[in-house]
């Protein structure tokens, strides 16, 4: 008669499980830190597997009970404690689950679980495996906090937490100076964005009086529009730095110094997409500030093209993937700027699948060719590692967006369509970006897997590496079938899932756009084949000053180095002894010097004293008269 208890149980189950989703990886991390590397590798991997498995399991259960519960259209709040309360400002540590954060939570926990399982095999022989997993699980916990927190300030805790973990993991192999330097660079550049984010929060907190996201969305629209625009610009700045968008993109290629699972988890699937998620979360405010949206679209647009251009000439397999990540994030920003929240989130999800897959495959290759990362030193690996080849090919196809069979196709089409609505220029640029994407990734595929052997592959990738890759391969293909345009099949699972939060999916466009969008990747692959198909001579990277510039990120790095870093450091070193301190030293020296000068008068020669007395008397008399 009364089904209510069951429902209440369902809701309270979510409320119980939600903190546990974060707590599981956090506890694993704490245990690993406290044991300080004394656990054997086997125990460490078991612990990590169990913790992350529980985390993913709890996430799935809570997602299921939330969606089947009574409140599935709204949001569920779990207030954990009051963080700080001063005057009329309150910040809470609270979690909230709605359909948007649910999607993100599932991506983070499940893809995270897969990548950590992969990492267990990848890092098994590293003596510092415990430290690695302590950071990794701490990262997952921070990322989940970022995703689930309902207060912007608590989001910021996760935001900075993932930044710190990213720093620690990029510099994981700290023995090489370059890795540690890259780590510092990554942190400092994203920290610029974090400072902007912080300022944006201050602005919002002052204008609205709270940083609680539902309150912000409810009250924020009543704030003066200049305030709102400024605030959104600041938050956009924070998001851009985290997502490596132009002009704060320089850290991401260097971040590839970290172990490959790190690149897969942090610099492809989760952390770099945090900015996209944040803006989607605040889309209710974002939509009110057309200027910020336009800026966002332009940033995404520019990043797509710049990063794709750089990716075209890279020789390091991980750097190719890094630039492609940047470029794909550009698509998401373009979508956000065009108001296509569904498209951005959809691409975020599919990108997490195929880019994680690509990184895992790349990691398997790197591991088996003795940590060689230069694609021009690989070749013919198709026969040595057929399964890795298949996985990499699927990932590449999805990245290029080969029509119908890959996940990337559907999400990219959705973005292209929305971009066309806003401006055909955006559409054309994004389309050109897609063309470049298919060229550069298949350039990589053809050079690495076709042609003659230039390196020797050894060993096999074990089950723990193969299984996550297999699962992600399936997702990289089938993940796109969640959402298809009406012209192909009327499937809208993803947008129906998110529409209570993000609003209805906008009207679709003609099939002509779709056909053009389908042909472009195929054309790209064809061009890549004509340029880099196996020939008798081994392929060599093209060299010219222009290409060198392109390879070095269009000279952004050099520019920043010249404008900011070097003057800052040079001036700092010039002023190392602190001119204010010198000033006081000068006073001291003057005092001392004049003291010595006067002391010299005391020569001990009576006649000179007498002279001074006489002179003094004369002077006094003169003054008196």
């Amino acid at each position: 008669m009364t089904p209510i208890p069951a429902i209440v149980w369902g809701v309270s189950l979510v409320a119980t499980l939600l903190p546990l989703v974060i707590a599981c990886p956090l506890f694993v991390s704490i245990i690993l830190m406290l044991t300080g590397g004394k656990l054997p590798a086997r125990a460490t991997t078991l612990l990590v597997g169990a913790g992350m498995g529980l985390c993913a399991l709890f996430a799935v259960i809570s997602a299921y009970s939330f969606l089947t519960g009574p409140d599935s259209l709204g949001a569920l709040h779990v207030v954990l404690w009051n963080w700080m309360q001063v005057g009329n400002f309150t910040a809470q540590i609270a979690l909230s689950l709605d359909r948007l954060s649910l999607v993100m939570m599932l991506v983070v926990s499940c893809v995270g679980f897969l990548i950590l399982v992969y990492a267990c095999a990848y890092m098994y022989d590293d003596p510092d495996i415990a430290r690695f997993f302590a950071y990794m699980t701490l990262f997952v916990a921070s990322m989940l906090l970022l995703v689930l927190a309902s207060d912007l300030l608590a989001v910021f805790v996760g935001w900075e937490g993932v930044g710190l973990c990213s720093y620690l993991l990029i510099g994981f192999w700290y023995g090489e100076q370059a890795n540690a330097v890259a780590a510092r660079k990554a942190f400092v550049v994203t920290r610029v964005g974090d400072a902007l984010f912080l300022l944006g929060m201050l602005l919002m907190a002052t204008a609205v009086g709270s940083l609680d996201i539902p309150t912000l969305l409810a009250v924020g629209p009543h704030a003066p529009s200049t305030t709102l625009t400024l605030g959104m610009f600041l938050l956009l700045g924070g998001a851009m730095a985290k997502s490596a968008q132009v002009p704060l993109q320089t850290w991401l290629p260097d971040a590839m110094a970290g172990p490959t699972p790190v690149s897969a988890l942090i610099h492809a699937a989760t952390m770099v997409t945090a900015g996209v998620y944040l803006l989607a979360r605040l889309h209710g405010l974002f939509v009110l500030t057309p200027a910020a949206m336009l800026a966002c679209a332009v940033v995404g647009f520019v990043t797509i093209l710049l990063a794709a251009g750089s990716a075209l000439v890279q020789t390091d397999i991980k750097r190719i993937l890094a630039y492609s990540t940047m470029s794909q994030l550009g698509y998401m920003y373009l979508a956000l700027g065009c108001g296509a929240w569904h498209a951005a989130m959809f691409h975020l999800v599919t990108h997490a699948f195929f880019k994680a897959l690509l990184f895992m495959a790349a990691g398997s290759i790197i591991l088996r060719v003795h940590h060689e990362q230069d694609i021009f030193k690989m070749g013919g690996l198709r026969k040595d590692m057929p399964w890795v080849f298949t996985a990499f090919l699927i990932g590449s196809a999805a990245l290029a967006g080969l029509p119908l069979i890959t996940a990337g196709y559907f999400s990219k089409e959705l973005i292209l369509g929305s971009a066309y609505e806003v401006s055909p220029i955006f559409w054309a640029g994004a389309l050109f970006g897609a063309f470049l994407t298919s060229i550069y990734i298949f350039r990589c595929v053809f050079i690495v897997f076709w042609g003659g052997h230039r390196t020797h592959a050894h060993g096999r990738s074990g089950m723990a590496m193969a299984l996550p890759m297999a699962i992600l391969s399936v997702l990289a293909i089938a993940g796109g079938w969640m959402e298809m345009p009406d012209a192909i099949a009327n499937v809208h699972i993803f947008s129906n899932l998110l529409s209570p939060v993000l609003g209805a999916l906008p009207q679709e466009h003609g099939t002509s756009l779709l056909i053009v969008g389908s042909l472009v990747p195929i054309a790209g692959v064809t061009i890549a084949w004509t340029l880099w198909r196996p020939r008798d001579v081994a392929p060599t990277p093209a060299e010219s000053p222009a290409i060198a510039t392109l390879r070095a990120d269009w000279g952004f790095d050099t520019l920043y180095d010249r404008i900011f870093v070097r003057p800052f450091m040079v001036l700092a070193h010039l002023n190392r002894r602190d001119f204010i301190d010198r000033f006081y030293d000068l006073i001291a020296a003057l005092t001392q010097g004049s003291g010595q000068a006067i002391a010299r008068l005391q020569s001990g020669q009576v006649r000179r004293y007498a002279g001074w007395i006489a002179a003094g008397t004369v002077a006094a008399l003169c003054l008196a008269v």
Binding site: M84, L168, A180, M569
Partner: protein, 498 residues
């Protein structure tokens, strides 16, 4: 009981110091050290007692009071009053003084008794500063806490200590003189107005409100505290002094002594002279921001690890200045939280620097590098405190900095902007320190076996880490407790009388 708890907080360390001196006269290190620890534990017990009594008295206002005539002719009393701010500061002092005494066992081998006597006298002086509400008494403690410290640095310091101490002495005593003049001026103005000679904080606050020369008088106080804090451009004594000090003195200096400046700013500048302080606020805040940026910038270029931490410390103290003078409650709370968090994090960083110096025999970061594998536990602690010092959310410093920025934002957006830029710079120098000391390839000079962390070190660093974490995750108790009581609110004594 409560009545005598306040003077006991001053007397116990002072008498304990004497006992330690006598115990150490024979030249043995252990007894002096033990006496010193027992004294600190006694002090802590009294403090716990005071805290419990205060908490039951409710939040806000004055918790405890003690008064006794000292020089009745001049209206000077031994008067102590305790409010939330003072209580939090007392706790900070108690917490910081433990590692000073605990870790000194290793470094101080000769004249240990004298060392502990000087150390405990400093601690007694600091306790007095945080409680005295008679201006003469306050000045007395202000000097009492500095003089023994000169001795500690002079006797147990590193190379270049004479010069450093001279600088320290000139700066602090010069500014202390200004404060004395300001105190006398205030007393005289008050005497002219009411024909009563008194040094009582509460009575003088009436005069301070209305006198036309308040601006000049306030400046005297302000300069004394600005030098102590220190505020740019009066910071020149600090890096030299910190670098030349023995570990215990660096910890004490950075952990608590700098906070007496912040405390004085709140109690004797903002609360005593609210009007002139509001006029001064733009200048003070600008100097605070300049200090944040300038010293962060200097920190990047240092190669001496202690100097790096010293400059970073000045940079963080800029936030305190900013918060105190923002004139907002949230900024003030932030400044107090920052004082506590900064005391813990910088104190811990100096413990680390001291240990590095101890083990490697150098403070030059160019000679370090790649220390992580040699001392993983210790490096992890260093990473933690570096993260705290760069303001990682979830650790105490973030709470302070965020609240300060929030308070500042309500006053000036430009200043907040620049102060936030300081957060970027703080990440630059913190991570540069990590990079140069712990990461990178091993330097040959530093390849000597470094050994495991000693248990006291682990305990000290662990406790500091836990406290910072607690402050970062759940700062509310401290924020609630640390509300400074106004001199115009009814004092505890009056309350009792009613």
């Amino acid at each position: 009981m409560m009545m005598f708890a306040l003077p006991a907080l001053v007397l116990i360390p002072f008498l304990g110091g004497f006992a330690a001196w006598i115990a150490g006269l024979r030249g043995a290190t252990r007894p002096a050290w033990a006496v010193s620890l027992v004294t600190l534990i006694l002090m802590l017990l009294v403090l716990v007692n005071v805290t419990l009594a205060s908490l039951s008295a409710g939040t806000g206002g004055w918790f405890a009071h003690f008064s006794m005539p000292w020089i009745p002719l001049l209206g000077i009393n031994l008067r102590f009053d305790l409010d939330g701010l003072g209580l939090v500061m007392l706790w900070l002092n108690a917490l910081i003084s433990f590692p000073c005494a605990l870790l000194s066992a290793r470094n101080v081998s000769e004249r240990a008794g004298l060392f502990h006597f000087l150390l405990l006298s400093t601690i007694a002086g600091i306790n007095g500063v945080f409680m005295a509400t008679d201006l003469f008494l306050f000045f007395f403690f202000w000097e009492l806490m500095l003089l023994p410290l000169f001795g500690i640095i002079l006797i147990w310091g590193d190379a270049g200590r004479q010069r450093a101490v001279l600088k320290f002495f000139l700066f602090t005593q010069g500014s202390g003189l200004l404060m004395l003049l300001a105190i006398l001026g205030l007393v005289i103005v008050n005497a002219q107005r009411t024909s009563v000679i008194t040094f009582d904080y509460f009575l003088l606050s009436q005069t301070a409100m209305i006198t036309p020369v308040a601006g000049v008088l306030m400046l005297g106080f302000f300069l004394a505290f600005a030098v102590k804090l220190p505020m740019v451009p009066f910071h020149a004594w600090l890096p030299d002094t910190y670098a030349a000090s023995p570990a215990a003195a660096s910890i004490l200096l950075s952990g608590v002594l700098a906070k007496t400046g912040g405390y004085g700013m709140i109690r004797f500048v903002v609360m005593l002279f609210p009007g002139p302080a509001a006029h001064l606020a733009p200048v003070a805040m600008t100097l605070g921001v300049v200090g944040i940026l300038y010293c962060a910038w200097l920190a990047v270029a240092q190669s001496d690890i202690k100097r790096l931490i010293a400059y970073s410390s000045i940079s963080h103290l800029g936030f305190i200045l900013l918060g105190v003078f923002s004139g907002t409650r949230i900024g003030m709370e932030g400044a107090i939280a920052q004082m506590v968090a900064h005391g813990l994090s910088t104190g811990a960083l100096f413990v680390i620097a001291g240990l590095l110096e101890d083990r490697l025999g150098t403070r030059d970061m160019a000679k370090m590098g790649g220390l992580w594998p040699a001392m993983p536990q210790f490096s992890a602690f260093a990473m933690f405190f570096a993260a705290a010092s760069l303001g990682l959310p979830g650790l105490g410093n973030f709470v302070g900095e965020f609240l300060v920025l929030m308070g500042t934002w309500q006053v000036s957006h430009t200043m907040t902007f620049f102060a936030a830029a300081g957060l970027v710079l703080s990440s630059v120098y913190s991570l540069t320190m990590m990079l140069r000391v712990f990461f990178g390839p091993r330097r040959s000079e530093a390849s000597s076996p470094l050994g495991a962390l000693s248990v006291p070190h682990v305990a000290v660093l662990g406790v500091a880490a836990l406290l910072l974490l607690a402050l970062g995750v759940y700062p509310q108790p401290v924020l609630n407790l640390s509300v400074p009581a106004s001199p115009h609110s009814v004092s505890y004594a009056q309350e009792q009388a009613q």
